[in-house]
């Protein structure tokens, strides 16, 4: 038995300890926000926060998550009111939307450390997240806007 903390709540898990966190979240706890894209750490669609750091949930096992605090897109806000979500909505970022949960989780972790990032900092933080639909420039604009919204809120 492993206990993970997901979006602030303790969650016991008794399945295969080798199961990647991504599948624990999606198929055991029915949190479908993190997405499967590659299973190899190449696309970032599965990005969540582990103890506040962005992490590829497809590469981490349930066993490694014992005692760790995990935040998923579902834990960002209950109603889509996190500055990153508001900015993404205002800029009309998504096309298919499949990559966007991972993009937002990465952006959110960037902003927590670097509240006012420049283009180079954004590009470098976001370069592990693929967008097959090519919304990169809108994502970059949305990160800037989220930074602004974050300042207002403080």
């Amino acid at each position: 038995m492993i206990t993970l903390t997901i979006n602030g709540k303790p969650r016991p898990f008794s399945g295969d300890p080798e199961m990647p966190l991504l599948w624990v979240l999606r198929d055991e706890f029915n949190l479908k926000g993190a997405k499967f894209g590659c299973g190899m750490g190449l696309c970032g669609a599965c990005t969540v926060h582990v103890n506040g750091e962005p992490a590829r949930s497809c590469l981490m096992t349930a066993a490694e998550m014992s005692g760790k605090s995990i935040t998923t897109i579902e834990g960002l806000s209950v109603d889509g009111s996190h500055p990153v979500q508001l900015a993404w909505e205002a800029i009309d970022v998504p096309q298919c939307g499949y990559c966007q949960a991972g993009q937002m989780m990465t952006a959110c972790a960037l902003l927590a450390k670097t509240p006012n990032p420049n283009d180079v900092e954004i590009d470098s933080a976001m370069s592990g997240n693929l967008c097959r639909c090519g919304t990169y420039r809108r994502i970059r604009a949305a990160v800037h806007q989220a930074a602004e919204l974050g300042k207002v809120r403080k």
Partner: protein
């Protein structure tokens, strides 16, 4: 959508005092059955108005990120004359009553522009009639705005919701007699509306195919033959079945393909042989699969190699061509002339995979002889037909739910994952979610077909293009190219050069090919617009001016043209080309050392696009695309502007990715497997993209595809201007170039 012949408009009352307008099958046809189908048509109700004034509008096309949930409902809502915020969009089911639900080829806008607006106008007209009767005035004296009918003369008004019940009893107008709005009065068409599911996307709601959950559902992983047409000889099924969580493991024989180049679009429900593993979690199925040992009989394609195909292409190019697709004037005589300059080149482009970020998946539930399916298919209606044939059940026993897709790009036109899920669910007698791994997805695609072009052009002393020859060597057998692997004999500059020869030769291929965003154009635009650039430089001309001059030289009417050839309108193309030159400051700006501009245009899917790329190349051949200017003419209206701009910017990024991608074959196996060896552009490499639309007085056409093709040659031409090296082979990494 051709609705006039088989359908008529009908209105009906709905519970709570609302009304509904839809297309209903014509009774005579219902009795006889439409050609090729053996089931009754049912009504397709497109719009309903509840007594509280909410307009519920049905979206019949699949959402892949191209904005389909907004697009057609916006057309209905505009003519209905309601506020967009009072509109609720719902997905339709899948069936023939929706008039052919295929999402591809940038067809949604052009084929639905008339019918969708007319459906909205019909509902509005009936509501107005209801108001006029209530007030005892003539309908012509009434007007509408924002879901309210007004009789200005008597200062009376009624909301649509209040009139809905009565409207249902009004005579239904004839479809063709409807009066449509003057476009200058449009309030919704041409104004950005937010994506219908954006909120759900941003909060991580389970809206994608991969998120579908059905009670009691099992999970399947399917190991398919790595070589086309291979068969399973034996597999360690007992060992697999004993693994943790595994419920079933069995050999799927596969179904013979209907023809050598299988087509999952409409029929021939063949699918590849392999071993299915069904478990209580996908992870368990996938883990068991790592222990799977299969003995295969790979069959006749087991020795196929990409390099051998390339050598074979060169051999074929040296021989008389298999077929002449188009000939005008006397090109051979022109090439022999002493006073001409001859330019020759060989171009090669690879197979590439779609690699949608959401891998192929499908959930199927076979119960009591009936099949229920949740699918991200772009071609749901043909998929339903295919599954019915595969399982030998009537089509009416297949219920299909459309679920949002994490990208399509043509991949989901092929319903192979749907056939597999249906087969596996029927075999195990339980609901099953089949999910492909990324490796499955890259290795079992319907690839964009590769090919080779051998060019020869003659330029006269005055710098005029006198003769053009291209010999296309690609894949196919007999008269047929492989699916979506052919060549449009009408491709520019055909029709603009007096001496022209377009030829083709084929070699066999053991790989499935199919439509990838801007099929037929995404490779052809690069070769044709690159070679035109070579000719322009050889003629000592400015590449943009050379193209403009060429566009003035239409030879149309001088020779019989293949009716299947898609030919462009030179005036519209010149329009976008000139605007792209203006926007980018073509010939007007001094660029940094090492930087250069390249230009290209292409007509496809009804859309006219010219693009200019500014690139900088360093000493290590690292290419930075600084900026791209895109100008498109897709007719009189851009229906949803923000979404349209997003599509175009995405098409440019997609096209750049195509410059670094390839799928190759070794021993009949696809070599690449995941995003490390079939990569795509990342954020730091994405350029600024300025999008402009040139609005012209033409019916609106689609936008998913036509913005993509010109970006490849625009960048390749810019790289030539910057370095003097011409990219004649894709991926450009073969010539040592990469994106910085």
């Amino acid at each position: 959508m051709k609705i006039n012949r088989r359908f008529f408009l009908r209105a009906s009352v709905i519970a709570g005092g609302g009304f509904m307008v839809g297309l209903h099958p014509i009774a005579k046809l219902k009795a006889q059955g439409p050609p090729g189908a053996n089931q009754p048509l049912s009504p397709a109700d497109f719009v309903s108005i509840s007594s509280d004034g909410i307009a519920t509008i049905v979206a019949k096309n699949q959402e892949l990120g191209q904005g389909a949930l907004n697009l057609l409902p916006m057309m209905i809502a505009e003519e209905l004359d309601v506020d967009w915020k009072t509109v609720r969009v719902v997905r339709s089911g899948v069936g023939p009553q929706y008039g052919g639900q295929i999402t591809g080829g940038s067809t949604a806008t052009p084929s639905n522009w008339e019918p969708m607006r007319r459906i909205g106008a019909a509902a509005r007209q009936m509501i107005v009639a209801a108001a006029a009767q209530t007030w005892g005035v003539a309908a012509e004296e009434c007007s509408t705005a924002s879901g309210v009918v007004y009789h200005r003369a008597s200062s009376r008004s009624l909301r649509y919701g209040e009139l809905a019940a009565k409207a249902a009893t009004m005579p239904v107008p004839a479809f063709t007699s409807l009066k449509l709005k003057d476009p200058k009065d449009y309030k919704i068409i041409g104004t950005t509306t937010a994506g219908i599911e954006t909120k759900e996307i941003l909060t991580g709601k389970p809206i994608f195919g991969i998120d579908v959950t059905v009670p009691g559902m099992l999970y399947a992983s399917f190991e398919k033959t790595p070589v086309l047409g291979g068969k399973v000889v034996s597999a360690n099924l007992d060992a697999i079945k004993s693994m943790k969580g595994v419920k079933h493991a069995f050999v799927v024989e596969g179904v013979p393909m209907a023809n050598p180049y299988p087509n999952y679009l409409f029929e021939g429900p063949g699918f590849e042989a392999g071993v299915a593993i069904v478990a209580d979690s996908w992870w368990a199925a996938q883990s068991a699969r790592k222990k799977l040992e299969v003995k295969w009989d790979f069959g006749k394609w087991a020795t196929q190699e990409s390099e051998a195909n390339a050598r074979r292409a060169d051999e074929l190019a040296a021989q008389p061509a298999g077929r002449t697709l188009r000939k005008e004037g006397d090109p051979e005589a022109a090439f022999q002339r002493e006073d001409v300059k001859v330019v020759q080149a060989r171009y090669e482009f690879p197979f590439i995979a779609h690699a949608t970020l959401e891998p192929q998946n499908c959930t199927a539930h076979f119960k009591d002889g009936k099949m229920e399916i949740w699918s991200t298919s772009q071609f749901p209606a043909p998929g339903r037909t295919t599954v019915a044939r595969l399982l030998g059940i009537p089509e009416t026993d297949v219920t299909l739910h459309m679920v949002r897709a994490g990208g399509g790009f043509g991949r989901r036109a092929y319903n192979d994952s749907m056939c597999e899920a249906a087969w596996i669910s029927k075999t195990v007698g339980a609901p099953v979610k089949l999910l492909w791994s990324r490796e499955d997805d890259i290795r079992h695609d319907y690839y964009r077909c590769g090919g080779f072009q051998y060019f020869k052009a003659a330029i006269d002393r005055g710098g005029k293009l006198l003769a053009w020859k291209n010999h296309f060597v690609a894949y196919g057998e007999g008269d047929a190219f492989v699916h979506d692997g052919g060549f449009n004999a009408g491709e520019f500059p055909a029709g603009y050069v007096e001496n022209l020869l377009v030829q083709a030769s084929k070699m066999p291929l053991g790989l499935k090919t199919g439509a990838l965003r801007a099929p037929g154009s995404n490779s052809i635009a690069w070769v044709m617009q690159s070679f035109i650039d070579e000719v322009a430089h050889a003629a000592g001309a400015d590449p943009a001016q050379f193209r403009l001059a060429l566009l003035k030289k239409s030879t149309a009417g001088t020779a019989p043209v293949d009716p299947r050839a898609r030919a462009l309108n030179p005036a519209r193309m010149s329009g976008v080309l000139q605007l792209a030159m203006e926007k980018s400051g073509w010939g007007q700006r001094t660029l940094r050392p090492g930087a250069a501009l390249g230009i290209a245009f292409h007509f496809s899917h009804g859309g006219y696009f010219a693009e200019v790329a500014e690139v900088a190349v360093d000493a290590k051949k690292q290419v930075t695309v600084n900026k791209v200017w895109v100008v498109g003419d897709i007719g009189s209206h851009v229906i949803n502007p923000s979404s349209a701009e997003n599509q175009v910017q995405g098409a440019v990024v997609d096209g750049l990715s195509e410059m670094i991608q390839e799928i190759t074959l070794k021993n009949g196996h696809v070599v690449q497997s995941n995003y490390h060896d079939h990569s795509m552009l990342r954020m730091p490499q994405a350029p600024a993209i300025e999008v402009s639309f040139l609005k012209t007085n033409n019916p609106p056409t689609g936008l998913g595809e036509p913005a993509l093709p010109p970006i490849l040659p625009a960048v390749a031409n810019a790289i030539f201007s910057a370095t003097g090296e011409r990219i004649r082979t894709l991926p450009m990494t073969k010539q040592g170039f990469r994106f910085a």
